[in-house]
């Protein structure tokens, strides 16, 4: 089957493929090895255990983001530059729904993440902002800079498949107990198939939040 010898790169690529197809929970050492046509223990020769595998996965994702950012044109404007960057990151996250959960769970931050935020600070400083504003901005951006919003209402990213049967079942009861939320959803009439707030994390809302934050940073007055 697999003529090419096993390697860290081949293992990580297979891990990405597996996670894309079946989620992070399906990514076990034994299963990954099986996908590679090899025994589980062989992986330990190329990777320092499961945690090392996950760290490598995180680095791989950050690398994809950097590559996506590099493909965009540099406008020289800090605002559109950051906006493009965040949207590029988001595209990568949409390709890998497991990535937000993975990045949030890592207790040692991949170096690429530092480099990524370093570039953001560089953009802000070049735009005329103070280090203080840049610092606050980083915190305000949070994970939005990496292309994903909070996952509270988007269970799909949590790992497994997205199941809402239980939620859908008692929607009528919910509507009664949650008057404001129901009224809001009715007024928005977002998407008839949408149970409550699920899957609202669309491009529109992402860009709205980005612009809200960029507006706020701009108004901080650190520029000029």
């Amino acid at each position: 089957m697999s003529r090419k010898p096993l390697s860290r790169e081949r293992a990580l690529a297979a891990a990405v493929t597996l996670a894309d197809a079946e989620g992070l929970k399906a990514l076990t050492m034994r299963r990954l090895a099986a996908d590679l046509g090899v025994e589980a223990m062989s992986l330990y020769y190329h990777l320092p255990g499961k945690e090392g595998l996950l760290d490598g996965l995180a680095e791989t994702v950050i690398g994809e983001i950097e590559a996506a950012v590099a493909r965009t044109a540099d406008t020289g404007d800090w605002r559109t530059s950051l906006r493009q960057r965040f949207l590029s990151a988001r595209e990568v996250m949409l390709r890998h729904p497991w990535a937000p959960g993975l990045l949030s769970s890592r207790r040692t931050i991949p170096f690429g993440v530092y480099a990524y935020y370093d570039a953001i600070v560089g953009t802000l400083i070049a735009g005329g902002f103070s280090h203080r504003v840049a610092h606050r901005a980083l915190h305000a951006f949070g994970s939005l800079a990496l292309g994903f919003a909070q996952e509270i209402f988007s269970p799909a990213a949590a790992g497994g498949t997205m199941d809402v049967e239980a939620t859908e079942a008692d929607l009528p009861a919910m509507a009664e107990a949650l008057p404001h939320l129901s009224a809001m959803m009715a007024a928005e009439a977002h998407d008839a198939a949408d149970p409550m707030l699920g899957w609202c994390d669309s491009q529109v809302e992402f860009e709205f939040t980005i612009d809200l934050l960029l507006d706020g940073i701009e108004r901080t007055g650190g520029q000029g």
Copy 2:
């Protein structure tokens, strides 16, 4: 040892205690049972498996937040009302560092979360905002409404203990590779013991981001 009979409530309380003390990873069915002076299988009589336990834990945390919010005085002003709410939630999250990770990982949203966001929408509507603005505001707030920011730079919440030895080891090399981040940290001189951005998620930054968002929502003009 334990005279009182086992119950869902007692199991959940013990689970919170265990998670507070040793993190979410230490919370296994067998370990929780041992802490309760009971056999692992006994838990299944009171809880529908591990997932059910975690769902119960999530509900417990939301309940704590609701209780904290209920203890605050209602000012009638939508802005300070939301601000107080978010800060109350944050206090609960600080008591339970594992809670953000738990809430993010749940694929079925606890009902209390819906109720919580329903109250937020109610506050916004009473403040004169449109349903559209309220909807966008919910997305913009994200998990900040539940008292926690993105965990990218705060590994402590990920589950285990916070270890940064590896990161601290090559700080000099990092400083060279990350000029803007280094300059920023030097300028901020946040805390000498702070390695890079870790543990920056202080009260100051949390409130800064909240105010940035509230400012943005206010300026949207949905009020009046």
